[in-house]
């Protein structure tokens, strides 16, 4: 008896082994996302250093010819540009002076440059076949109707979300969906959890994002697994990232918009993968299963077939058993 008991407890080990064996493999997958950084050097590297020597650090130095010594000053945080991020951004091949007036080479920078006009995205990308896949024109159309566009007069434009010095495409060729989600959400949180930037554009009081989404359970989990734009934009089939930010009354609040078989996440967050992987009407596995398990939306075709089969076999077995029992009983009472 006692030694048999040990065998019995071995059964518990099975799920434990299963868990521990599987998990490291899963988390390793997440890690090799930024391995393929190649050593790319901008042809403007030296030229840009004349700006980076001040704008690349939290502090900058001035040489005071009068007293013949270096003085150190803090660079205002919003004017610090991270070199590493700049050189992996979409516009990494640019010289600072492609977008900024040559007058900035002087220090102190001339006052009249403070109101310099910047190019808009469409000035360079509009109606350009090289960028047709991005549908810049359609994005512009959507943006114009979005709630933020009303703030244009206060200075809102595409650059406010697409930081000129760090923006890089992410969802289009994502290898780690969670990083992409965090990246995209930070675009919004840059203003929506940073009142300094927010108040530049509006008279409104601070909006507390956590409080305003109190109705959403597991908030931290949700914000780590869906983007703000999933709920706040109108679904658009032809562009990858919908840009029409809807008035607040139209934001998604119904859970089944995502937690259902025809989840809107398929046409937003998982759009790219879903197109490739949708197998049969309503059943799609790889797209979501790789990264998330969205209750209500994930249905594994095979698990589903197996479970429905077992279920009906069980019911059929019981009915057959019942039938024979009744037959046996009526035979009994007859005889």
């Amino acid at each position: 008896m006692p030694e048999n008991k040990h065998y019995f407890f071995l059964i518990f080990l099975v799920p434990v082994l299963f868990l521990s064996g599987y998990l490291p493999a899963v988390s390793q997958e997440d890690q090799n996302s930024n391995d393929q950084e190649t050593e790319w050097v901008s042809e403007f590297y030296e030229e840009n250093e004349q700006c980076f020597k001040c704008h690349g650090e939290a502090k900058y130095s001035l040489y005071d010819e009068f007293s013949e010594r270096e003085v150190h000053k803090l660079m205002c945080e919003s004017r610090v540009i991270n070199r590493d991020k700049y050189y992996i951004s979409n516009h990494k091949s640019f010289s600072c002076l492609d977008c900024h007036d040559g007058g900035y080479q002087d220090f102190p920078h001339p006052v009249e440059l403070r109101t310099e006009e910047h190019y808009a995205c469409l000035d360079c990308h509009g109606y350009d076949e090289n960028y047709a896949q991005y549908h810049f024109e359609e994005i512009e159309e959507e943006y114009v109707q979005s709630i933020h566009a009303e703030l244009e007069e206060e200075g809102f434009n595409c650059w406010k979300c697409h930081n000129p010095h760090t923006y890089h495409i992410s969802i289009r060729n994502t290898t780690n969906l969670h990083e992409t989600i965090a990246y995209d959400n930070n675009i919004c949180l840059d203003c929506h959890s940073n009142f300094n930037r927010f108040q530049l554009l509006t008279e409104r009081d601070e909006i507390n994002i956590i409080e305003r989404h109190d109705w959403l359970p597991n908030q931290a989990l949700h914000f780590g697994n869906v983007r703000c734009i999933e709920c706040h934009t109108q679904v658009n089939d032809s562009i990858l990232v919908a840009h029409l930010l809807l008035p607040i009354e139209q934001a998604v609040q119904r859970c089944v918009e995502c937690h259902s078989r025809d989840s809107r996440l398929l046409t937003t967050l998982y759009k790219f993968e879903a197109k490739k992987q949708r197998t049969r009407a309503g059943f799609w596995n790889g797209a979501v299963l790789k990264e998330s398990y969205v209750i209500g939306a994930n249905r594994n075709l095979y698990l589903n077939i197996i479970s429905i089969t077992i279920f009906f076999l069980t019911i059929a077995g019981i009915l057959a058993h019942l039938f024979f029992r009744m037959k046996a009983k009526s035979n009994q009472t007859n005889s």
Partner: protein, 202 residues
Amino acid sequence: MYLYPKWIRLWHLLNALFCLMLIITGLCLQYSGKGRPLIPFDKAVALHNTGGIALSLSYFIFFLGNIFSPNKKHYRLKYKGLWKDMYTQFNYYMFGVFKGQKHPFPVTEENKFNPLQKVSYVLIMYIALPLIIITGWGLLLPDITISRVFGVSGLILTDIIHIISGFIISIFMIIHIYLCTLGSTPGSLFKGMISGYHVGED
């Protein structure tokens, strides 16, 4: 024969109620749609969470009861001849019942379960229910699951184990209820589970 003391009956009632509630709300979560649902998704989430916590507590009653009361003896598997006994019992369910044969393992105070009951109760109570409860808590407190134990994707695995055990328990429950109609009369075992007294054959 007095087989089911009060605590077992109370636990079993709670257990059955919570399981039913969890199965129904669980199905609502899994098969949610945009039409008019049986239970709206957010209500189903809330009910399912409450049911899960309640089931954990009722499982705790069972767990303690089966440590500290003599009821534990019914859950001790004897390996010798187990397969043969199970086969005998299986044979009875498949053929014997129809011929009006006697139960091969009549209920006694020492042996309240037949071999199939015993094995299935042990599997359900000591593997399936703990699995579903642990994974359920993992899903309820994803922060713990994510940061400490698993990787982020650990949630997927947790979820799948949760759903598979839920399915197994549901199937168990269907068969379990049906087999409970195989007493001396179709209702006698249910009456026994209410009064505590088992009515044997003859």
